[in-house]
Amino acid sequence: MIKLSKYVLYNILKSKIIIAYTLFLFIVATGLFQMEANSSKAILSLLNIILIVLPLVSLIFTTIHYYNSYEFIELMLSQPLSRKRVLLSEFSGVCFSLVMAFCIGVGIPVLLFATDVSIGISLILIGIFLSIIFTSFAFYTSVNARDKARGIGTALLLWFYFTLIYDGIILLILFTFSDYPLENFTLVMAALNPIDLGRIFIMLKMDSSAMMGYTGALFKDFFGSSSGMAFTFGCMILWAAVPLLLALRKFRKKDL
């Protein structure tokens, strides 16, 4: 498998898009640290940008890569290789390049400028997880849709759902049922969206969580503990693994 993914990776690393993406992240991250005197404020701004840009780029880049590699995948499958191996090689190639772009673009400036290293490392970890999760999502949607336009459309819809619509639904529920105790419910709802999960995980590591009232205190109590940490990363791993496994299952029976 490593043989094939090596070539997939090599092909991607030479593409201009991934270089531009790395540069963009690097400039934004360094810029934010230079402008803000307070490094934790800079991290907060960086977090908000990452949570929007990272899923979008991962989804779109993966989808386009998949459709562009369609004939190549076909050729690989006419060789003595199993379907599982071909798809996993493609996945690991794309995933690794996106994670690398993030680690160079954001990781280096964060490690250089962040005063609180533990928050910086959490930010990098969350970023890596989000890259993997949304690559995995994109593989699932592109394996399912034969048409390129439809595949990209579905990917965009997913992005809209996770960054905007989902939060809207939660707010609506919270307002409608504001008379009831909803703390545990919000905890569950947060776990059902990897972006929210990442946001809460990092926000609670900062002092700003003090302003979030009772729910914030409960969250801090939960996510701050080591079991809360295990819970976060457990959810993240599930979010990455489930779409990939579904994609593999679909791909095994698919007509190419």
Binding site: K3, L4, Y7, S78, P80, D255
Partner: protein, 251 residues
């Protein structure tokens, strides 16, 4: 070598393959012909395992490919209809990747087409800079590289210039002598003339006939494949009859 048993495949409502039963043996050069959308490519892809049939079995050397997994493809060289490769991959990388996958002895490889098409001198060129015809040449060279006992060529000469297509035909003739089973799908019947030993005619997913070339020539009295097929189809297809009627009255 390849035995196909009551193969059926539907794409939603379209019947792509309708109850196909056929056997291909060593040394045969089988021409798959038929109108567009008659199921030629689908048949090829099912043999390769790229398309999964709804029912029916395919046996490769008497082993069901469904149970065989993917190892049987070690013995197949495939040239696809459209060859598109990762943009930034160079020709050299593509070949080293394929050699890596099959892991065959370097001395047993067939670099004939690579040399004749002058691809060796372009080893460092990335795929995106290549013309359609050159990519087709790359596909052809890949199919022949491992000297496979079975060759599957999907419209091999489409997009090739006359000289390159002649080179490819020469190569096919040469491998035919070595006892390789070759499946060719093509619309250019004149290309198939000197190559083919058997003809399989598909229409609407059904196999209309599978005949030896000599038998066809005898039956129709035509030597050229194109004319012979036209004569055979005339009896079957009312539309073809109607067109020739109209042509006659206009004269």
């Amino acid at each position: 070598m390849i035995r196909i048993n009551h193969l059926n495949k539907k794409f939603k409502k379209l019947i792509a393959l309708n109850n196909i039963t056929v056997q291909f043996d060593e040394g045969q050069v089988v021409s798959l012909i038929g109108p567009n959308g008659s199921g030629k490519t689908t048949l090829i892809k099912t043999i390769l395992g790229l398309v999964k049939p709804d029912s029916g079995q395919i046996y490769f050397r008497d082993k069901n490919i469904k149970q065989e997994g993917f190892t049987y493809r070690n013995e197949i060289g495939y040239m696809p209809q459209i060859g598109r490769y990762p943009e930034n991959m160079t020709i050299g990388q593509l070949f080293s990747l394929l050699k890596n996958i099959r892991n065959k002895d370097e001395n047993s490889l067939d670099y004939d087409l690579l040399k004749q098409y002058n691809l060796v001198s372009m080893y460092d060129k990335p795929m995106r800079t290549l013309s359609g015809g050159t990519r087709q040449k790359v596909s052809a060279a890949i199919a022949f590289l491992f000297r496979p006992p079975v060759l599957i060529l999907d419209e091999p000469t489409a997009g090739l210039d006359p000289l390159s297509s002649e080179v490819l035909k020469e190569k096919i003739l040469q491998t035919k002598k070595e006892g390789t089973l070759i499946l060719i799908s093509s619309h250019i019947l004149s290309d198939l003339d000197d190559l083919t030993t058997d003809v399989m005619y598909l229409q609407d997913g059904k196999m209309k006939f599978f005949k030896n070339l000599a038998t066809i020539q005898e039956d129709t009295g035509e030597i050229k494949l194109g004319k012979a097929i036209a004569r055979l189809m005339k009896g079957e297809d009312p539309a073809a009859n109607m067109i020739s009627e109209i042509l006659k009255t206009n004269r």
